[in-house]
């Protein structure tokens, strides 16, 4: 049996809100568990609407927010024990993030290649400029760019799609085994979105990188992911193989989500919108009684 890459074990997070008196407690994530296998790279989708706790979960996996309860283990080691600088760097080398908005992820006043070189220096220990450039170039080639196209450019000189691919390349420099991508395509233009989504499948198949793909877009999740979990109010309401879950969702919330996805096939008829809330409620009621 191969070892687990990432074990998320009954993890919860409670945020305290409010001032000195009468603090409100918000349970952002509640009892979430799943395991990613190290021998079998996969795209694991976390689906939920805003406020469902998916970004909090991602931050806990990235070890930037400690869980209130439960444990997250990466290659068997509890992330709570990864505290010293050397341990943290070793962990970050293995687990890399990609953020939603590439225009916010990169400092607009700094050249984008700088991020690639810093990442190479920090995680690969390259001291020479030439070695750093080579590492950056090979990572950029994996996402269909080259250093020549990016070198010396500022973020505003690149399109959103190019910039997001640079973000993916940056994450690839340290040769991670896990990438956590939080809504990576929601800010990218329609004609470039597919290219980025396809890139994730290439990373999984050719480089053996596991990807945690966080999204509220069920259609792209169906298109690329192997397994999914659906979250509502911090809890996992449904999980399983992506196709199975989305073809025949069982939980009322998953059914509601799937029904809310507008299909392009119904073009020209407003049936989907006319059916309205009443129909959704009826469907949910059916599912609950059956």
């Amino acid at each position: 049996m191969s070892t687990a890459l990432l074990e998320v074990d009954a993890v919860g997070k409670t945020y305290g809100m409010g001032g000195l008196f009468g603090r409100d407690r918000v349970r952002a994530v509640d009892g979430v568990s799943f395991t990613l296998d190290s021998g079998r790279p996969e795209i694991f989708a976390i689906i939920g609407e805003s406020g469902s706790g998916k970004t909090t979960l991602a931050r806990m996996i990235l070890n930037s927010v400690p869980p209130s309860d439960g444990q997250i283990r990466f290659r068997g080691r509890d992330l709570a024990t990864v505290r010293r600088r050397r341990d943290r760097l070793a962990f970050m080398k293995e687990v890399q993030p990609i953020f939603q908005n590439p225009f916010e992820a990169f400092n607009p006043l700094k050249r984008v290649d700088r991020y690639l070189f810093i990442t190479a220096r920090r995680f690969l220990g390259t001291r020479q400029r030439a070695a750093a450039e080579e590492a950056a170039d090979s990572a950029l080639r994996q996402v269909g760019l080259s250093l020549a196209e990016v070198k010396g450019r500022f973020p505003h000189e690149l399109s959103g799609g190019q910039l997001q691919r640079v973000a993916v390349a940056r994450a690839l420099i340290s040769r991670p085994s896990l990438i956590v991508a939080d809504e990576p395509v929601s800010m990218v233009d329609a004609s470039l979105r597919v290219a980025i989504v396809n890139l994730f499948t290439t990373l999984r198949d050719d480089l053996g990188v596991s990807i945690i793909y966080i999204t509220h877009d069920l259609a792209t999740a169906y298109y690329i992911s192997d397994r999914i979990i659906i979250m509502q109010n911090g809890r996992v309401v449904e999980s399983g193989a992506a196709r199975q879950v989305l073809d025949a969702p069982r939980h009322p919330y998953s059914i509601q989500l799937k029904n809310a996805v507008l299909s392009p096939d119904a073009a020209g008829s407003d049936a989907a919108l006319r059916s309205d809330r009443m129909a959704d409620r009826a469907n949910v009621a059916d599912a609950m009684t059956s």
Partner: protein, 356 residues
């Protein structure tokens, strides 16, 4: 009387039996809106809207699709007469045919915009939080926006507002709320109520559901549809989400790099897209229940400050021919004028099939 003098330059055929015989609510002719920047003696010109002509019939939802920097926001700003320097209208006109008056913008003397705004033409914006004043209750926003335009005494005004909210299934208690007390979906519903309370004949909606979750998005779209059908208004709906267009719009126009490249009935366009860019947009949409690999499009949208010569899509186009590099394809009518497309390859294919 206008059509008689202007028709030859306009790529629409004369109205036939199949088309609506009444005048369209909005008629945009050869509109060009450029950003003109003159910095330290260096003149720069960004052609955000270049030669766009379209018409929106009454009681019709017209969808405008296109990615960022395709000029769609500039186009609706120009139609809404909300241009501010450095955006200038360089040529063309926008004409509104309202029930009791006609207004022409950019055709000479600027008409009194205060008289048409909100009563005839209103606007639903993307960021509901920035439309509603965060430190005032919702009811004050209604007074600020709508009271003057409705021209009714205060008690009658509140009667109309309450009746309107009820029609949109909103509780009148939202009037007492502050914007931060409402959820994003609720706020967006309030802005839609705000934009429709004067029963305008033409509504512009700029990405009103982009920031919302799928479930809320569907409810808000259903509401948009309902209120449009009830008022019989025309709606110009802008979003980059093709799935929304498919489910909401009667007609669809697709913009690329400042130009309208295809236009037609939504069902027809989705069934048989003619322009290669439209074909890509539709074929690359992921669908639940279908894991067929989809191809990305090479390259990136062009910079409008320095667009490619000829057809602006040719560097990314799989069908590009020699002529595409040199000449910009005109937007020519097809299918008895119900469809227009700007592509040499699509025209060449269609000429064999007895198209006009």
């Amino acid at each position: 009387m206008m059509t008689a003098t202007r028709a030859p330059a306009f790529p629409y055929p004369e109205p036939t039996m199949a088309m609506a015989t009444t005048a369209p609510v909005v008629e945009v002719r050869d509109l060009r809106a450029y950003y003109l920047v003159n910095q330290y003696g260096v003149r720069r010109e960004v052609r955000a809207v270049d030669d766009v002509s379209l018409r929106i019939e009454s009681n019709q939802i017209y969808g405008l699709a296109g990615e960022s920097s395709s000029g769609k926001t500039t186009l609706i700003k120009t139609i809404a007469a909300a241009t501010r320097p450095p955006l200038y209208v360089v040529g063309g006109t926008v004409r509104f045919n309202f029930r009791d008056s006609s207004v022409e913008l950019y055709g000479g003397a600027q008409p009194d915009l205060g008289a048409i705004r909100w009563k005839h033409l209103s606007y639903v914006m993307q960021g509901s939080m920035s439309v509603l004043n965060p430190v005032r209750r919702i009811k004050h926003s209604f007074v600020d926006f709508a009271f003057r335009h409705m021209g009714e005494p205060m008690p009658r005004f509140w009667e109309i507002v309450r009746a309107h909210l009820e029609r949109l299934h909103l509780r009148p208690s939202v009037l007492e709320a502050y914007p931060h007390e409402l959820s994003g979906g609720m706020r967006q519903r309030v802005t839609i109520a705000l934009a429709t309370v004067c029963r305008p004949e033409f509504i512009i909606a700029d990405e009103p559901t982009t920031a919302l979750d799928v479930i809320v998005q569907k409810e808000v779209l259903a509401m948009v549809r309902e209120v449009q059908r009830e008022l019989g208004s025309s709606l110009l709906f802008v979003t980059h989400d093709m799935a929304v267009h498919a489910n909401l719009c009667d007609r669809l126009g697709i913009m690329y790099a400042g130009r309208l490249i295809e236009e037609g009935d939504t069902a027809r366009i989705f069934k048989e897209p003619l322009h290669p860019y439209t074909q890509h947009l539709i074929s690359s949409l992921p669908r639940i229940g279908d894991r067929k690999p989809r191809q990305g499009l090479k390259g990136a949208p062009p910079s409008l400050a320095d667009p490619p010569t000829g057809c602006r899509f040719h560097p990314r186009c799989p069908l590009a021919m020699g002529i595409c590099r040199e000449e910009a394809p005109p937007l020519l009518p097809m299918e008895n004028g119900r469809r227009r497309v700007a592509c040499f390859a699509a025209m060449a294919e269609a000429t064999g099939e007895g198209s006009p």
